[in-house]
């Protein structure tokens, strides 16, 4: 496997076990800089675990994870993690603005510069007029937007997203997908995107990687040759989109069997 230093994220023969049970086994995978890679696979195959390793939250038992050329031993500020359970990942006692501020406080951004940056970030995720609301006063989609704004406040080179839109309704999800794509196109960030939704994977990704369970390993690695910017209607009707979706569907069906 080619593990070039150019890649944003490199899994180099990575293994992990919990309580003696292998969860990830000998996983090698490169994610190029600026690439959007979507990870799919049956429940429990180790998608979240792989993402947590890429975030430095969990260390592999064997092998190394490298991010931007450096071996990863703990989380980095330029790697942002968007958790699926936005309700738990936000500080309920802080307003939307103050939640975003947390990332700036962590990075030591001078107090005087924060309000301006927070306003820009919240505007970017479509929460311009909701700065002073508390997360509990907001819908799920809006809460997830706060979390994304907080991650963007980290100025991330890499975005790790674990089923970020999984709990949202279809319309909200599509809106956020497009917003994410345009933000990523703007910043050039690398994205490692875990999802259950095969269509979402094809729609967002430059590549879709399917994991097989017990233990987690790569079962399929598909290049997605669909033009960008993508369009919720047109892209989803393209023959290539349908072909890829079909291939992934067959893969999942076999993987779950």
């Amino acid at each position: 496997m080619n593990t070039s230093n150019d890649a944003a994220i490199v899994f180099d023969r990575v293994s992990l076990a919990y309580g003696g049970r292998p969860i990830i086994s000998d996983l090698s995978l490169d994610v190029g800089r600026g690439e959007i890679v979507c990870i799919i696979g049956p429940s429990g195959c180790g998608k979240t675990t792989a993402l947590r390793m890429a975030g430095g939250l969990v260390r592999p038992l064997d092998g190394t994870v490298r991010v931007l050329g450096e071996p990863l031993t703990e989380p980095r500020r330029d790697v942002a993690i968007v958790f699926q359970d936005y309700g738990k990942a936000l500080l309920p006692w802080r307003t939307a603005a103050a939640n975003v501020s947390l990332a700036l406080e962590a990075a030591g951004t001078p107090r005087s510069e924060r309000p301006e940056r927070i306003r820009t970030l919240l505007a970017k995720v479509g929460l311009a007029s909701h700065e002073d609301k508390y997360p509990t006063e907001m819908s799920g989609g809006m809460q997830q937007r706060i979390q994304i704004a907080r991650c963007l406040a980290q100025d991330p080179a890499v975005l790790l997203m674990d089923e970020p839109f999984g709990a949202l309704d279809a319309m909200t999800r599509q809106g956020l997908q497009d917003e994410m794509l345009s933000i990523v196109a703007e910043t050039g960030a690398t994205v490692f995107f875990v999802t259950h939704d095969l269509e979402e994977a094809v729609y967002l990704g430059d590549r879709v990687i399917g994991l097989l369970p017990n233990p987690g390993r790569i079962g399929i690695d598909l290049k997605v040759d669909l033009p960008r910017p993508r369009d919720q209607l047109e892209t989803r009707e393209m023959p290539e989109f349908l072909r890829l979706r079909r291939t992934l569907f067959d893969f999942i069906e076999k993987a779950e069997a």
Binding site: E74, A80, K88, A89, P92, W93, A106, A107, T136
Partner: protein
């Protein structure tokens, strides 16, 4: 709810009236009982001659200082034990051995070390407040949403930032419960120590009234201690709401 708040007062009021009538009719002279009107008169007398207020100040000062000392220590230990599992496991037996000691049982030791006076009383109050605050703080640490700790890790917050920005605010509602509990304990223990040993405050006032065969004054002290305890709790509840309204609200919604 709003319309019937007075309903709760019907029974106590009836009891007071009944006690008054009974005392008047039977015409008893008792060493432990007094008519409600006599108790009220004694209470007003003691309040106006200042003796009750001085006693209240002494008791509250000792209880407050002890609460502050024990509470802070409990908070610190609870956080350490709650956040560092190894320390918790190492200290578990020690804590469980010391914790059940009734606070009044350390009175003789405290008397030897501190003699009579404020410091002895403060030490015992602190000892009594330490444990509940420690135990509840430790539990509060365990109750913090693990995802928030991961967020702190992902953002690479320093230890002080983590405590100030994540741990304490997240645990605050439960810590406030501990503080209110400890405040009640502080008052009880302070009065107990005063009755048992320390010539200070409201507890000593009860004792003197009892030994001076003044049941009205003795009961007046009792009533007053009730008023003080109730006010203390109400004040804390009010402060909690004012200061931490948002956090408390969140906790309630989450529970």
């Amino acid at each position: 709810m709003k319309r019937s708040w007075w309903k709760g007062l019907v029974v106590p009021a009836a009891l007071i009236v009944a006690a008054e009538i009974a005392m008047r009719l039977s015409n008893t002279t008792s060493m432990s009982l007094a008519a409600p009107s006599d108790i009220l008169a004694a209470l007003l007398r003691a309040l106006f001659d200042g003796s009750m207020l001085v006693a209240t100040r002494d008791t509250l000062a000792s209880a407050g200082a002890g609460l502050l000392l024990g509470g802070l220590l409990g908070l610190l230990l609870g956080m350490i034990f709650g956040l560092i599992p190894i320390v918790n496991r190492l200290m578990e037996v020690t804590v469980e051995a010391i914790r059940p000691i009734p606070s009044v049982a350390v009175l003789p030791i405290a008397m030897l070390v501190f003699g009579f006076g404020y410091s002895m009383e403060i030490a015992i109050v602190a000892f009594s407040c330490l444990w509940p605050v420690m135990i509840l703080t430790r539990a509060a640490m365990a109750g913090i949403e693990p995802r928030l700790i991961e967020v702190a890790r992902a953002l690479r917050l320093s230890t002080t930032q983590r405590i100030a920005k994540i741990v304490l605010p997240a645990a605050l509602p439960r810590i406030m419960v501990a503080v209110r509990l400890a405040a009640a304990i502080a008052l009880v223990v302070a009065v107990t120590v005063e009755i048992a040993a320390n010539p200070l405050g409201l507890g000593y006032g009860i004792l003197v009234a009892q030994q001076g065969l003044q049941p009205d004054l003795m009961l007046a002290y009792l009533v007053w201690i009730g008023v003080v305890g109730w006010s203390l709790n109400a004040t804390l509840a009010f402060a909690e709401k004012r200061l931490f309204g948002r956090a408390a609200q969140v906790e309630a919604a989450g529970a």
